[in-house]
Symmetry: C2
Amino acid sequence: MSESQLINNPDTVSEATINRLSLYSRLLSALETEGITVVSSRELSSRSHFTATQIRRDLACFGQFGKRGIGYEVSTLKRAVNEILGVHIRRKVALVGVGNLGSALLGYRVLYAHNFEIVTAFDSDPQKWNQVINNVVVQDPSRLPQIVRSEQIEIGIIAVPPHAAQRTLDLLVSAGIRAILNFSPTRLVVSRHIKLRNVDLSIELEGLSYFLQHEPINAHKKHDSRCK
Amino acid sequence: MSESQLINNPDTVSEATINRLSLYSRLLSALETEGITVVSSRELSSRSHFTATQIRRDLACFGQFGKRGIGYEVSTLKRAVNEILGVHIRRKVALVGVGNLGSALLGYRVLYAHNFEIVTAFDSDPQKWNQVINNVVVQDPSRLPQIVRSEQIEIGIIAVPPHAAQRTLDLLVSAGIRAILNFSPTRLVVSRHIKLRNVDLSIELEGLSYFLQHEPINAHKKHDSRCK
DNA sequence: TAGATTGTTAATCGATTAACAATC
DNA sequence: TAGATTGTTAATCGATTAACAATC
């Protein structure tokens, strides 16, 4: 199966659509496990919180995967979605920062199950060098450029303290890494040709706090308001 | 300082705006540290990747905080934003699932610095009961409802394996928790009156994988395309 | 063929940006 | 007063939803 049927230029596909593709992939895996071989967008919709139209439109960004009057072949669509996401290939990941969060990521099986593999870890603390955590050896960050190249690592994860985050990002980029996941609660500056995603736990918790602050217990009513 | 000047019904404020408020709060803290006392939306814009209009509009959802011709008083605006987010109050958090990720969260200082405190942890594995991790005692989940009530815990974090996530959510909700952060890669079903946010690392990494798959190295060009 | 469902165009909705009157 | 900057209305942009012709 090749990507020859791809019609779209991915530059123009929204991040929201890409995120939904990940969920479609999981949904299709679940259907496959259940032994369901053909599925309509309506059925996919009923098993998720997406509308049938939205699912069809998202897929239409990348080609024509269904049969009118019939629906989608589950295994074919799943393979296509995984290829669109590029998750049919195992991706090698470098972790920088082996503190609490970093060590946890080394043992986080879900990532491995989704075809990502943390193959090296780095920490600026010399006491951690050569420690082995979940089969991964912690290295001196000065060795990062060489190891990234020799191991063909494509993705970097930043799990260092806030003050070291920008420096770490620059190090990863100069080593040729083009896709980076940042866990530090810092807005980093990066060239447009590099993909940076942020996971910011403080923002998530503060969003929950906002809800607690404003949503009275047992509130069910709706008002109108000046602010959309 | 009270919330008396709040004009808006928060039901209608978008999640995007709320997330930006967290970043405005940080920005204002940094300005305060620098000794800057008054700031314009233009200056805030230049120190972030938000437009001045967007900042003014976000704030306008909640009242009038600036002086025309002058700008915003940094400390006043910071306090107002923190009250809007409800982060002026310390919030107690219960963690469920003390595996790799859960243990890491117990030691994650950034949360404490943002006024969140994990006061108890639960795990279904009896071998972990009564273990103390970062001053927090791991408990039997059957004690959760009682402890949530006695400790006045408002927020729950789900860090259990995927198959236990829905059950954990239901347990938290039945104990009276209304705001929940879910780390399991599972889409959970929840009543409309409960706020659930998901942190899904697989989706983030798959978004990076998509970029690697589609963005050729050194690609700078733009095409037009059928898909917006 | 009749019924079902896709792929896509047109309509709607919501969020962002531009513009500007109000006012410090 | 003149210059600056807010708060807000109107215009634009982008994403979602509805509708339907194409077609299995």
